[in-house]
Amino acid sequence: MAARTLFDKIWDAHIVQEISDRKEYDPAAPQSITQLYIDRHFIHEVTSPQAFTGLKEKGLKPFRPGQTFATADHNIPTMGQDKPIEDDSCRIPVETLGRNCEEHGIKYFRMLDPGHGIVHVIGPERGITQPGMTIVCGDSHTATHGAFGSIAFGIGTSEVEMVLASQTLLQNKPRQMRITINGSLKENVTPKDVILYIISKVGTAGGTGHFVEYAGDVFRNMSMEGRMTVCNMSIEMGARGGLVAPDSTTFEYLRGREYAPQGEAFEAAVERWSTLHTDKGAAFDKEYTFKAEDIAPMITYGTDPGRGMPLDGTIPQCDGSGRKGLQYMGFREGEKLIGKKIDYVFVGSCTNGRIEDFRAFANYVKGKKKSPDVTVWLVPGSAEVERKIREEGLLEILNEAGFELRQPGCSACLAMNSDKVPSGKYCLSTSNRNFEGRQGTGARTMLCSPIVAAAAAVSGKISHI
């Protein structure tokens, strides 16, 4: 058999059928569309209500409700979760999700449940996400799950409805890209810096139409949390998803998790999962190679995630869209960001809301004091992350330094709930998007790692680490 990529192996194992999709204008393009079987489907309160309504209107029911898992994360408050959600517009979608899950027998991790949290944090944490699977969710950051060596991608609500109704989707097979980084990362360079560096090189549209395999020493040596941070932001370079070949790090992470195979079944699964890697000589449509040593702690200066530079760098010359972004941010070409005062710090989200992120933040602020001029939101990605923060003694460190911990949710990543950055204010954020208005109307976002965020939370300005 011809050499295949990791992506090919998973894709091929999920083809229900190929349907003719001739493209006379481009004979080189795939001439068929694939009906792809979906192993795991995650849903949340924002992109699923209309899908359930659509099913009802067509007289349909979920086909395999046992393969769908639900959580409420986007709309929920991150304080006072034991009280009813005050804002009707936030409460109604959450209640609608609960009702839909109950009616159709779908597992729902509701607020305050020990398994609750951001959809892309709890899927892996519960062991629902496994190597070799096809995984979808009505959320672009579904790419996160690719860290386990699975094909995971974001879909729209019409597609959520299709998966509920048939457990399949019609998809054109994407092109494939490989990004290889060998060598050792410098001190204080985190997975977030790696992906911000990659996006700054590839561009926000460089990955469009592609799935990305991350290969090389840097990803091999990365923890699962780190791989998730990297894969999570694949979408920010336009890619549908990203994946890392599963290895012993992956298997050890999954061992004993609630929904992972147990005992002998786990060992059998490991044997199967071990075949999931790109064969020697397999071809990619695009290849990039970077050096680990070239990557520094990063920060973004513009209004798309591709506008990133080293923390101590100088804002480069920009094109038209870039200049519009600088105007919004109140920055100029040729300016340095080091030393700039900031108003908010947000640590959390499906990108950097995992235990390692809070360990890194706590490690930096230990024995220091929070700046009185900065509002800091520390939001764990899940109830399990919150528990670990307590168990590992991180909460004491944070409290002593003057920080408080909120409850799990998407929080200030997207200004859908009560955590919003006011207009004109600067926020150093560990989330994934610095788009205009993303964290609140007029809010100015700079993306960075939890360590860069910690330094600013202490000093009140963008600081060297």
């Binding site: 229900v16 349907i19 999709d21 001739r22 493209k23 006379e24 204008y25 481009d26 393009a29 569309i33 009906q35 079987y37 924002v46 992109t47 209500p49 209309q50 309504t53 349909l60 086909f63 986007h74 517009s89 936030c90 109604i92 979608p93 609608t96 672009s140 579904t142 974001g154 879909i155 729209g156 609500t157 019409s158 109704a165 048939s166 457990q167 399949t168 019609l170 054109n172 926000t204 549209a205 469009t208 139409g209 979408i235 336009g238 549908r240 798309d304 038209g320 869209s321 519009k324 997207l414 200004a415 859908m416 207009s423 998007r433 788009f435 205009e436 208005g437 993303r438 109307t441 007029g442």
Partner: protein
């Protein structure tokens, strides 16, 4: 058909519809919030220089039907609300030199046609609309052709035969997928 244009590139779905408007649990009525922060000031008053300003309060017949925008349109969040909002406003097609993947699928699933043209042709459309905002753009889906009526310039755009037929005949993926249940069941049995 009447068109409106912006040269801005990388228009993300947070621009098309900010997250705070995603709380409604039905598909209808998102047109009001389409490009909300481009159209309205913080106090709810209209921004007079927005590309949509001339059409605020206009009837559906007087509104533009084609949105022309810079490359990498619809990047970012997968929210289908972006496609719903654009369609609900009254647009039937979006023209750009490049579309983000998820937006393209969402648009097609809502019978909103994403028309991908070359960078050069996009520039021609911008120029024609800049010179005369009333310039008519025609899109012929059966022939996969987009035409600037005033100059007669045209280009073919890519769309696979499958989706082309779906759009021409008003067929939706979901109806087909549900009809394959038997096939899906045998797939599940075989892989066990």
């Amino acid at each position: 058909m009447k068109a409106v244009f912006t040269r801005i590139e990388n228009i993300d779905t947070d621009q098309i519809i900010p997250a705070r408007f995603l709380k409604q649990t039905s598909r209808e009525g998102f047109g009001k919030a389409m490009f909300h922060d481009w159209r309205y000031n913080g106090d709810g008053t209209l921004k007079p220089d927005s590309i949509f300003a001339p059409y605020e309060g206009a009837s559906v017949e007087d509104k533009p039907r084609i949105l022309v925008a810079g490359r990498n349109f619809g990047c970012g969040s997968s929210r289908e609300h972006a496609a719903w909002a654009i369609a609900d406003y009254g647009f039937t097609a979006v023209v750009s030199s490049f579309f983000a993947d998820i937006f393209r699928n969402n648009a097609l699933n809502n019978m909103l046609l994403p028309v991908q043209v070359s960078g050069e042709f996009l520039e021609k459309i911008f120029t024609a609309l800049q010179q005369d905002p009333e310039t008519s753009i025609e899109i012929d889906l059966a022939a996969r052709r987009i035409i600037i009526v005033s100059t007669g310039e045209w280009e073919c755009f890519p769309i696979g035969e499958y989706k082309q037929n779906c759009l021409l005949n008003g067929q939706r993926d979901i109806d087909y997928l549900v009809s394959t249940k038997g096939l899906v069941e045998s797939f599940e049995k075989e892989r066990k």
